[in-house]
């Protein structure tokens, strides 16, 4: 398959557009899920949608994508609010509630799916594409539905931006200001459920949660601003959707879901390591740099204590007397010399006036910092 096919082939264009929109809406709403510490809610919702898919097929008897989405939406919402009910009304903790609803709904859904498979009805084939997703089955109208939902959720996000932002960072304060936090909570949860349900056809029930989390978790590493994070997450999501679809389309019998998830996961890995502010790489570099700095200062202080006892500060000393002190290496000594704090001649060192001043004022600096 050539890259140019994306722009000429009608089906491919539809699919690419669909996954891009899907990735964008998931990234956008996923940011809220991640920041509200509801990351695993997405996992539970997507699994909880499965019985809805099966039941809507059992009732209508046809494999109409819209009915199936409606069924998935209803059962996803039932699952979500049951989770909230369990956490609120019983002593079971949220992790137990999530795991319970996730596995029980999914098990019930699988029971119904296997039941449907045995039914004497030729129509049922292809329901299991909802397990791992098959982007190839996306039609133009599916993409339209996605685009409309994305548009609506974008408008709602912008309308309630201030309130949602406040809710994310300080729910109690939001309440005291008189905003209806319950309404806001239901609003954002409903849209998250909607995004998940939309993605079921493409990414599948099992892996949909990663689609929600990964772009947002990656975007979080690059910024501390909610607005930037949402936009970045949408971009990451769209890219992983498109790239994942392209890769899975180029190979035989590869479901789209797993490939998209792996692409999104690599975005996360890259962000974890290379993001300048929070990334592991730069954190390690900063850590080492400050450790080296500390070693340097320690060596200089040690020298200062020796020099202090002499009248002439530039009186040379043997390097050997530094030996009982572990912090010094040849490198630190040359570095100190470079900064003109000491002078080295053969195996002797002598402190310069500049070095003496630096070492003496180091204590003042530290003292001032502590004040």
């Amino acid at each position: 398959m050539e890259l140019i096919d994306f722009f000429t082939d009608y089906t491919l264009r539809t699919i690419t557009l669909g996954t891009a929109i899907l990735g964008a809406i998931c990234g956008m709403l996923g940011s809220f899920a991640v920041l509200r510490k509801q990351s695993l809610l997405g996992d539970a919702i997507s699994h909880a949608a499965l019985p809805g898919i099966a039941i809507s097929f059992l009732i209508t008897g046809v494999k109409d994508a819209n009915y199936i989405l409606l069924g998935a939406l209803i059962s996803g919402l039932v699952g979500t609010f049951w989770i909230k009910g369990i956490v609120k009304r019983t002593r079971l903790k949220s992790d137990t509630a999530l795991g319970l609803i996730l596995s029980l709904f999914f098990g019930f859904g699988m029971l119904l799916l296997t039941f449907i498979q045995k039914m004497p009805n030729a129509n049922q084939a292809g329901l299991d594409k909802y397990l791992f997703g098959q982007a190839a089955t996306l039609m133009e109208e599916d993409v339209w539905v996605m685009a409309i939902v994305t548009g609506v959720s974008l408008i709602v996000l912008l309308l309630f931006w201030k309130e949602l932002k406040l809710l994310l960072f300080d729910a109690d304060y939001t309440k005291t200001l008189g905003f209806n936090t319950r309404f806001l909570d239901i609003l954002i949860t409903t849209f998250i459920v909607l995004a998940i349900v939309l993605g079921l056809q493409t990414v599948g029930v099992v892996l949909m949660s990663a689609m929600l989390l990964a772009p947002a978790a990656a975007a979080r590493q690059w910024t501390n601003s909610l607005g930037v994070m949402v936009v970045l997450a949408a971009i990451f999501g769209a890219f992983s959707g498109v790239l994942g679809t392209a890769i899975s389309a180029s190979q035989n019998n590869l479901s789209t879901g797993p490939v998209i998830v792996l692409v999104a996961a690599s975005f996360v890995i890259v962000s974890f390591i290379f993001s300048p502010g929070r990334g592991l790489l730069f954190r390690e570099i900063r850590f080492r740099r400050s450790r080296r700095e500390l070693h340097l200062k320690k060596t200089l202080t040690f020298m200062y204590h020796i020099v202090k006892t002499h009248k002439n500060i530039s009186h040379p000393h043997a390097i050997g007397i530094l030996n009982n002190f572990q912090g010094f290496t040849k490198k630190t000594l040359t570095k100190l010399e470079k900064q003109q704090f000491i002078k080295i001649e053969e195996d002797q060192w002598a402190m310069t006036a500049k070095g003496y001043e630096e070492a003496a004022s180091m204590y003042n600096q530290i003292g001032n910092d502590n004040d």
């Binding site: 991640v34 510490k37 990351s39 695993l40 997405g42 996992d43 699994h47 009910g85 369990i86 009304r89 019983t90 002593r91 079971l92 903790k93 992790d95 137990t96 999530l98 795991g99 319970l100 996730l102 596995s103 029980l104 709904f105 999914f106 098990g107 019930f108 859904g109 699988m110 029971l111 119904l112 799916l113 296997t114 039941f115 045995k118 299991d128 397990l131 791992f132 099992v206 892996l207 949660s209 990663a210 989390l213 990964a214 978790a217 979080r220 590493q221 190979q251 019998n253 590869l254 479901s255 879901g257 797993p258 490939v259 998830v261 792996l262 996961a265 996360v268 974890f272 929070r278 592991l280």
Partner: protein, 386 residues
């Protein structure tokens, strides 16, 4: 009932038992979702193990896959420690990625691997009796029966050996540490047992439903008891019940056994969720209603005690004064009357001697203890509760 049917039920019951034991501790330690992560993340381990051993029941494969599970836990904890994302996000990121790798490995090697995606999600309990263990040509029963049987016995032995330590570290980590039990060893021990159990059960019930077998019996039992031993026994019972009832339901519907076991667990949980005597939603609802009524009663009685003048104690005035709706006022009045706390003559309500005594004591209790928790008093004075 044929021999194969009996064997399937036996395997299913042992799987449910083996899952219920670690599940109890996972639920109590608030680590239920870790089981979800492990059950997904072991898939690549199982597939790689299968490439090496070509036998789904081989101990090497089980150990390899269990190792993947433990590595997942370590990996999740590593990401949590970096502080880059929140705890739950770390779980949510790691397992879908590993599961995806597993699914792709299966899809790419569909011809070599005797594993299909359906089996990954649902297990192959129905086929378990056909894979038999032969020693010197002797039929020793299904292989998976031996596998899950040995896993169950090992975890039972470990449970008996370390029950005290597990209990202590589950409920009071700090105390366990000061007493010299290493929480880290216990933690990873539990994780290892969970991983091995999940791998053993994976074959029978698949990746997602093993989570149901781990969490649901324990959660259901936790709604019914406060005692760890009782909770372990109850969750084992629920697990075995779901295995047997689930098998027969699947038999009737001609559908997946694992799915039907989970559905039985789901119905069981729903039932307990609604009707559990202390923790249930309905009992909570009634308790709340009773408390509301009894607080109203107390307010009413204190009001009566405060006012000697008759116009303040007229039935109609009372309703206006305390601003209650008609039904509510009537209920409160009836309750007070039934308990002989008040008497009504010519529409004037007065406290009886018993009513006076009750309000005096209640007032004294509330003012001295700065608390409104007068359950003892209520038990002594009330013949009828709200």
């Amino acid at each position: 009932m044929t021999n194969a049917q009996l064997e399937i039920q036996l395997i299913a019951s042992l799987v449910a038992l083996a899952c219920a034991l670690p599940g109890t501790f996972l639920v109590l330690r608030k680590m239920a979702m870790i089981s979800d992560a492990i059950s997904h993340a072991i898939l690549p381990g199982i597939v790689l193990g299968f490439f090496i051993t070509h036998d789904l029941n081989s101990p090497v494969l089980i150990l390899l896959a269990a190792l993947t599970g433990v590595i997942t836990v370590v990996f999740v904890e590593f990401i949590q420690k970096t502080g880059l994302v929140k705890e739950d996000t770390a779980i949510g990121l790691v397992f879908p990625a590993l599961f995806s790798i597993g699914v792709i490995l299966i899809a790419k090697n569909a011809n070599d691997v005797h594993l299909d995606i359906d089996a990954v999600l649902l297990g192959e309990l129905a086929f378990a009796p056909f894979d038999r263990l032969l020693i010197d040509g002797m039929d020793m029963g299904p292989k998976s029966l031996w596998v899950i049987g040995s896993i169950l016995s090992i975890s039972l032995v470990l449970l008996f050996l370390f029950f005290k330590e597990l209990k202590l570290s589950t409920f009071d980590k700090g105390l366990a540490t000061t007493l010299g039990f290493s929480p880290i060893i216990l933690h990873y021990g539990l994780m290892t047992v969970s991983s091995v159990t999940i791998v053993g059960a994976f074959d029978a019930v698949g990746a997602v439903l093993v989570v149901a077998l781990i969490i649901a019996p324990a959660a259901t039992a936790y709604m019914l008891t406060d005692d760890l031993k009782k909770m372990l026994i109850l969750s084992s019972l629920f697990g075995v019940f779901s295995a047997i009832a689930g098998y027969w339901m699947a038999n009737i519907m001609d559908a997946s056994i694992a799915g039907s076991m989970t559905t039985v667990l789901g119905v069981l949980f729903l039932f307990v969720y609604l009707f559990a005597p202390k923790q249930g939603v309905l009992s909570g609802f009634f308790r709340e209603r009773r408390q509301r009524l009894e607080v109203s009663l107390l307010v009413f009685l204190l009001h009566l005690q405060n006012h000697k003048e008759e116009e303040e104690r007229h039935v109609n005035h009372l309703r206006e004064h305390i601003n209650w709706q008609k039904v509510r006022a009537k209920k409160v009045l009836e309750l007070a009357d039934k308990n002989n706390l008040v008497f009504i003559s010519e529409n004037i309500v007065s406290l009886t001697d018993k009513g006076l005594e009750f309000t005096d004591e209640a007032l004294k209790y509330i003012t001295t203890n700065k608390a409104t928790d007068i359950e003892d008093l209520k038990n002594r004075f009330f013949l009828f509760r709200g």
